[in-house]
Amino acid sequence: MSHAVIIDRAVKTYGDFTAVNGISLKINPGEFFTLLGPSGCGKTTLLRMIAGFNTVDGGEIRFDDKVINNVPAHKRDIGMVFQNYAIFPHLNVADNVAYGLKARHVPKDQIPPRVEEALKMVQIDQLKTRKPNELSGGQQQRVALARAFVIEPSVLLMDEPLSNLDAKLRVQMRTTIKKLQRRLGITTVYVTHDQEEALAISDRIAVMNQGNIMQIGTPEEIYRKPANPFVANFIGVSNFIDCTIKAVKNSASVSLPGNYSVTIPVTKDYEGEAILSARPEQLFFDEAGIPGKINMSVFLGDFIQYEVELVTGQVIELNEYTKDVDNIRKDGEEVHISMNTNQVSLYEKESEEVLSC
């Protein structure tokens, strides 16, 4: 049975430092939910609060209706995969996986088949009798995974489980984890600082910064419609261009450098300074547009990455797909830059609140 995990104004402080600053969020049963943010943003602290390794200094954490603030870690019925796997070095693979079953007093005759099944699911059933020091990093990771879900926990927690693997294995394992999670339907809370990993694996993502949640949404929402410049910058690459706008009746006229102006759909009226955020692929070369010149180009196969210096001196990044053009522009070439106005984002300068729809 998987549970909803409800975090209600949770607080964690270390002396004067607030690691988790009154965070609230609701994770649905069976959902794959990711806490994403730079190191020190409080994501691991929050995960360890759910696990019971950190105390909850304020607010509540509930599994469905049950408050678990003061339930000791070993009674929370949570599976956890640790960053460095935390395999018991003195037990072989099968005994590692059986450890949690024994603690739950599962009848003796049921343990071996359940261990076997779990190991099959992560494709290491042939390594049953190996000792941890005879396993590769990827294999240890699979043992850790099997050990965590074999107890059929109501919630599964993963703390940067892929960060110690090499790039290729990381991609392979994240597919394994995602498929496994779908099949078992366990509510999963996943912590990572790797935005690509978060986008690839999650149903929903909470982007965190300095103990606060910056945005919660599906990977697509977070990428397409970042709620503030922090998210726009942290997920993918964004160019921030200062501008002044006048917005009335859901439409803003935006004055950009070089006397160039565009019209962008917005959700509210506003007049004053603003930040326009555009991803490299949302920009293109156009006769009309912000004037500038090419500093450098990098050919990356399927696309070409340009570094363009605008008239204001600001340097921005622009991508062009190889299939759309016939040749690469030369360094020093004078260009004009325009943008896809339905895709870029607009924020108030002071409050950094989002204006675009």
């Binding site: 105390t55 200094d57 003061n70 870690a73």
Partner: protein, 565 residues
């Protein structure tokens, strides 16, 4: 249910009780006795109430203050000499392909582990007034050896016995210097010798200081060596404590307490100075590439091996002499060696000294069980549950280095001589029991175990324990099933060293023993002091053999990675 003010999960409270237990043990058997000693040193039968009489007496009577000077002399000189021998030895062993490197290393460790007075005794057999070498030289060449009795002899014995501390600390540090640092010095134009003086030695200065501190503390605290080699009226502070305590009737031992205070203050002062000096020079290093070992062959290799071999062998001579002597016939008074092989001394042990042998093994085994359990709990608390009490625990762990054995013995006598009277008039006391000797062993020898345990724990990832808790095993059970289980190999090497030093313990137990609770070490010591050399040698051989076997087990089990200091 106990809960801290922040709503701490209550499972942490197991460690709360462990901390309480540890503090109670140390409070009862270290802090309280020491406190009693301090109080005691300010009272005297010669004056009413609180008085400085004992201290005034100490510093005005030459008989007493001379001992202070002597103690400083026989501690400082061996410390200097140990550095002069230990550092070059460490350099040769870590930088050249010495023939039989491991063998010499083990010899040096073995010579460190036997009680210091055995060294003194062996040197008497060889160089004493009627010693084998002395006789040989005077018969053949008419050459008169300088007397081994007195401060010269004591310094020589201490140096040979204690330089291994410097050697072990420094060779550990020199082996951990990354090759690139020295290569860099060379690259910048430093020759080999210049490099040694400007890079290698300065980098290991903290280790030299740590080794020197151990030499100083051990020499300052040792009772047996000056006890045997004093000759005439040469007194040191530990022998003075023992004599004063014996001469003072009524078990008040006020003057002995005052002398104990003085020795502890000196030790504290030296410890403080050492820390102060080293604190600004602490370089942590992990050698990714171990230092280059110069490969010599033929004559050059012989030349670098020779000094290592000579020093190691000379340091090991006492053990060999003792074992040899245990098989040599003595005349009926057991006084003088005659020619011929005999097992008589061992037969004598079987006849009259079985209880001492039994005591040694029973006491040290009981002590080691407590040391293991307390040591594992304590290293866990120090590393994982430091909190506000961690610093206090670290200090308690240093106490046995600062409080000499004979002082601790005196503390116990003063504190536990009278605990109360039962209804029928029997006096309840701890002194004279086996328990007090075992407790002293536990308190004094536990640091070895705690140190190896905490070093091991620092390397162990806490998430392994969290994984177990997360899988539904309570923290207390996790500690038993996972943590303690994983710590055991790491703690074991330290525990065996605790055990070896328990077996060889003399300075505390000599204050605390009675006829019934005598151990091999005490029997060997008293036999040697009484010149009953044959039996003494046989007893000492048993000690050497037991220590040697245990150490070889440690060495094998830890693949040479254990720290002996």
């Amino acid at each position: 249910m106990l809960k801290s003010k922040k709503g701490q999960p209550f499972y942490k409270d197991f460690w709360f009780w462990v901390k309480i237990l540890i503090f109670v043990v140390f409070l009862l058997f270290l802090v309280y006795p020491f406190y009693t000693l301090v109080v005691n040193s300010f009272y005297s039968s010669k004056a009413d109430g609180f008085t400085f009489y004992n201290f005034t007496r100490f510093f005005t009577k030459k008989y007493y203050y001379q001992a202070l000077g002597n103690s400083l002399k026989i501690s400082l000189i061996p410390t200097l000499l140990s550095v002069l021998i230990g550092v070059p030895m460490a350099y040769l062993q870590t930088r050249y392909n010495i023939a039989g490197k491991t063998f010499w290393h083990v010899l040096i460790i073995l010579s460190l582990m036997c009680p210091p007075f055995l060294g003194a005794y062996s040197w008497i057999i060889l160089f004493g007034n009627a010693g084998i070498v002395t006789q040989f030289l005077s018969n053949l060449f008419g050459f008169q050896m300088p007397s081994i009795y007195g401060e010269g002899g004591i310094c020589a014995v201490f140096t040979l016995k204690l330089f291994p501390y410097v050697y072990l600390y420094v060779s550990g540090a020199m082996g951990a210097i990354d090759r690139s640092i020295e290569e860099c010095a060379e690259n910048l134009g430093s020759g080999k010798f210049r490099r040694l003086l400007t890079v290698t030695v300065p980098v290991v200065v903290p280790s030299i200081a740590a080794g020197a501190l151990m030499v100083f503390m051990t020499a300052l605290a040792d009772y047996g060596t000056p006890g045997i080699l004093a000759g005439g009226d040469f007194r040191t502070l530990p022998t003075l404590i023992y004599n004063e305590y014996l001469s003072e009737t009524g078990g008040n031992a006020n003057l002995a307490s005052a002398i104990s205070m003085i020795i502890v203050i000196i030790a504290l002062l030296i410890l403080f100075l050492q820390k102060l000096w080293v604190s600004r020079k602490n370089y942590t290093m992990s050698a990714l590439r171990p230092p280059q070992i110069t490969e010599y062959s033929g004559g050059k290799r012989f030349l670098v091996t020779l000094p290592v071999a000579i020093v190691s062998l000379v340091a090991f001579i006492p053990q060999m002499v003792v074992v040899l002597c245990s098989f040599i016939k003595t005349n009926y008074s057991n006084f003088v060696f005659e020619e011929g092989f005999t097992l008589e001394h061992y037969a004598e042990l079987g006849r009259s000294l079985t209880s001492q042998i039994q005591n040694t093994f029973v006491y040290s085994t009981i002590a080691i069980v407590f040391i293991l359990v307390l040591g594992i709990l304590m290293s866990y608390v120090i590393v994982r549950k430091r909190g506000k009490t961690g610093g206090g625990l670290d200090m308690l762990m240093m106490a046995p280095y600062v409080i000499p054995g004979s002082v601790l013995g005196l503390c116990y006598i003063v504190a536990f001589n009278y605990l109360g009277t039962t209804a029928d008039g029997t006096v309840i006391k701890l002194t004279g029991t086996a328990a007090i000797i075992i407790i002293a062993m536990i308190i004094r020898k536990m640091p070895y175990t705690v140190r190896s345990g905490s070093a091991f724990l620092m390397q162990m990832d806490p998430s392994v324990e969290e994984a177990s808790v997360n899988l539904g095993v309570s923290p207390m059970k996790t500690f038993v099933k996972v943590t303690a289980r994983l710590m055991l190999p790491g703690v074991l090497s330290g525990a065996i060293i605790s055990w070896v030093t328990c077996i060889n313990e003399l300075s505390t137990s000599i204050m605390l023993y009675t006829g019934k609770t005598m151990t091999i070490t005490i029997a060997a010591y008293t036999n040697i002091v009484r010149n009953s050399v044959g039996t003494g040698a046989a007893l000492a051989s048993i000690l050497t053999l037991t220590s040697g076997v245990l150490l070889i087990i440690v060495f094998r089990a830890s693949k040479g990675k254990v720290s002996f200091v």
